[in-house]
Amino acid sequence: MTHEEMRLQVDAYLDGELAPRDARELETHLKDCQECARMREARLVLGTAIRREVPEFRAPEELRARVRESLRSAAGVNPKPARAAVPSWRWMALAAGIALVAVGGWGLGAHRAADAALRDQVLASHVRSLMPGHLTDVVSSDQHTVKPWFNGKLDFSPPVNDFTGKGYPLIGGRLDYVGGRPVAALVYQRRQHLINVFLWPSTGGAVGERTSITRQGYHLLHSTTPEYVYWVVSDLGTAELSEFARLLQHAGSASSSP
């Protein structure tokens, strides 16, 4: 395959446009081919940059009014505002506002000052990781490559799982710093979205605490198990992100070994 064909395949894969069988084949290939794995990573970063930096526009009010006027005259209604048209336009303006609101998931928790500081650090690390070339130190969909990579770099051995079969392939890992300590950052993919997982051993705080926050278009999920503190960050929708968090926690507690 030429480079161009490779790119075509990876793009179609990330867009969810490959047939399931081709997607599985490509996922297998991505496990073995560093070059393609790096390309996937670069494309995920690019996609995030485009979605965040290339804005959508809101139609000017004047245009809105003119289009409404055209519809009215096509409908043969006299210039007095059609009753139904006004609320529906208002509703549309609201819908177009694209407010990102945290819903359900891990429930809304109390934000103490320390948590808020930590949350900001996690968000900052997530954003930093999305700059080209910063996402991973080790690129691999293979948990048996990523997990040992952390040996000697951290004072704990993070649980690393690949969820390719569940639609959340592992992309790789990197060393990061949050809350004044080195932590494991694991990177996952959901279609064209990137997910960062930050984790470190829990220190006997409030176990089972779960919060879900939305900041600047990113969703942050936080939970504490007896073994680990987890922060999951992504621009993926909260429903899927919560599903992923559950997978992660389940796998983490099932395979936890110090």
Binding site: A49, R51, F57, P60, A74, A75
Partner: protein, 176 residues
């Protein structure tokens, strides 16, 4: 226009005004032209609505977006607007929907500008697939309907467009 037709238009075509305007803005790279394109497109949409039998909002979107892009392409052929290269202008993009969050900005000002410039420099056919896919989240099939090309063409245009944008972005990051 019949009453139920008006209702159908309101339900499946009207709600895509912002999407139509966004596409027109990126195709024309100009606020005034975008406004005119969208207005013309809606007039055409009203005129030909009887011949369109879609019932879903997503069908209405593809149908309207196809009219918008055809209006913009025709207009460009007529006016040769594309002959001049517009520099990315902060003012021009100031009415965007996204809120500004300086602390969560992904790219520095220089990188952002080079991304926008790279986008502006893309051939029209490439720019439109980026907007339809990345901003509107349309499927390849839907994009094919809008642009009037087979899915395979959508796929290769999109991949080549991304490759160019990525190169611009990486060059910027490495350069400084």
């Amino acid at each position: 226009m019949e009453r139920d037709q008006v209702g159908r238009f309101e339900a499946i075509v009207l709600p895509h005004l912002d999407a139509a305007y966004t596409l027109a803005r990126y195709l024309t790279r100009n606020e005034d032209d975008a406004r005119e394109v969208v207005q013309d497109a809606y007039l055409r949409a009203l005129k030909y609505f009887d011949g369109f039998h879609g019932a879903e909002a997503s069908e209405g979107r593809s149908w309207l977006m196809a009219i918008v892009r055809n209006t913009a392409f025709t207009r460009r052929r007529r006016h040769r607007l594309d002959a001049t290269t517009t520099e990315f202008d902060e003012e021009l993009h100031s009415d965007s929907i996204a809120e500004s969050h300086p602390e969560a900005e992904l790219l520095g000002a220089a990188a952002r500008e080079s991304l926008h410039q790279a986008l502006d420099r893309l051939p029209l056919e490439f720019r439109e697939v980026i907007v339809l896919r990345e901003l509107e989240g349309m499927s390849y099939k839907e994009i094919g309907e809008v642009a009037g090309v087979p899915v395979g063409t959508v796929m290769s245009r999109l991949s080549r467009a991304r490759h160019r944008l990525q190169q611009a972005l990486w060059a910027e990051q490495k350069g400084g």
